[in-house]
Symmetry: C2
Amino acid sequence: MISPFAEEVKSFFMSLQNDICTAVERTDGKAKFQEDAWSREGGGGGRTRVLQDGEIIDKGGVNWSGVHGELPDNIQKALGLESKFFFATGVSIVMHTVNPNVPIIHMNVRYFETRKSKDSSEIEDAWFGGGIDLTPHYVIDEDTKWFHEQLKTACDQHNLDYYPTHKKWADDYFFIKHRKETRGVGGIFFDRLKANSVISLEDLFAYVKTVGETFAPTYTKLMSKNSELTYGESELEWQKIRRGRYVEFNLVYDKGTKFGLDTDGRIESILMSLPRMAGWPYDYKPEPNSREAYTLEKLKKGIDWV
Amino acid sequence: MISPFAEEVKSFFMSLQNDICTAVERTDGKAKFQEDAWSREGGGGGRTRVLQDGEIIDKGGVNWSGVHGELPDNIQKALGLESKFFFATGVSIVMHTVNPNVPIIHMNVRYFETRKSKDSSEIEDAWFGGGIDLTPHYVIDEDTKWFHEQLKTACDQHNLDYYPTHKKWADDYFFIKHRKETRGVGGIFFDRLKANSVISLEDLFAYVKTVGETFAPTYTKLMSKNSELTYGESELEWQKIRRGRYVEFNLVYDKGTKFGLDTDGRIESILMSLPRMAGWPYDYKPEPNSREAYTLEKLKKGIDWV
């Protein structure tokens, strides 16, 4: 049993996965997503969709999952939950690109609920989480400003506090502590948004819907526009390094990745976020006044892009 | 102040670094190690030596460090130590290779002590740790057997229990839990070996010396022999994938790496272990009966190679 509300969220997320795959395939124009459907022993499953060797996308995943069952005691405790009967559904996206001028992007929208008992469909606790953030190999101010404007517009439709607070949340979350640099130019991030006296679960769902629907038009525009830009060997070398940083963040800090690895999730679905190729040349230092050096300068918290 | 015994260990480790660098350079025949000396704010420092673009070695690091000062409370507690006045010294090696037929190797030898007070040179607690383990991109039984024989010979000079117990320790430590595969074909691993009623700190040092001195003749032989073997694009693709697994182990599980990242160590020294290029193609499955499939079969705990 899952709540009727959860059924609604789940079917929205499944359509969102379809719509995003269609939009990305159309823009890429060459490769198609391949689907791997998987099921989870404890209950539920997912549809992992990965596109490789595209014209614009080198490796991109758009994963949907909907899993239910009983939480292990330690996770129930860590989440501070009364009940262990849970349902979780979400869409996770990471796109790595062929052309270093096209940014890496990540999106996630997720819903989590517990119910009072195994056979009850009554919600005990429920929240939404998610966000979209951009990781350009080369920071282009104009694109970054435009990207943040799209997010601000999406947020502002729901609550004027969302953009500033969720933008800051992204800056803090997507931070590679040991490098003292942000993963990219941020975006928005939020977790455990719950209903309260002024905001209903339906209101939060409406926000999450808008976030999900903002992904395709925003990213496909950057795909088309920036894949026209030329590049050479040195840009590809830098792309490998930036992807290496992406790997560092995901394996060392990302909570979703850690959770997946710790709970015996489907490895190739979890690690679809990792690029087909990344690299760690020793102690690479960009030339002063180069595009690479400029990019490093912009990988900081607290930049007001809008 | 550090103990007179620590001075002795430290100077042995510094010479060991020199000797290994000389042997690897001579065998490689093309590239030279570049040294970055660094110092640590709290006390001490290190010499990071990295060789890139060799004939045989693609990226290899042979790092020495010797650091002292006061342990942060949480680490003192985690280690169960009476005193916070510590000294730690060690040599760490990782070699990534050009030719996929030449294995990746890792060695570490380390010594740690605490002293009764800041200005005392009297040891309060002290231990050795270390090991050598091999990560072939392609498992070659004959080489693996020979490698383990070299380690067994080294161990047996000191204690007949060392090889079996430290071999098992390596199998358990170098395990990529989420992949259910070992990082490579193992070797030996040990940690916190302390003096007791029958074994002195000097005995342990003698063992660690032998382990350190076993590295160069063993690895340079594999370098020379296997760099003669031919390879093509598909072997390079597989090499990238195996290096990806190496990155997964080091960023997700390796205690030394985690400790370094958590304690603000010199990042490029800690992450010298990561390859110049690695990759994660989605859901790669080797052909049945291929050398790649054979390798995967051998990445298991508990294989008796000797």
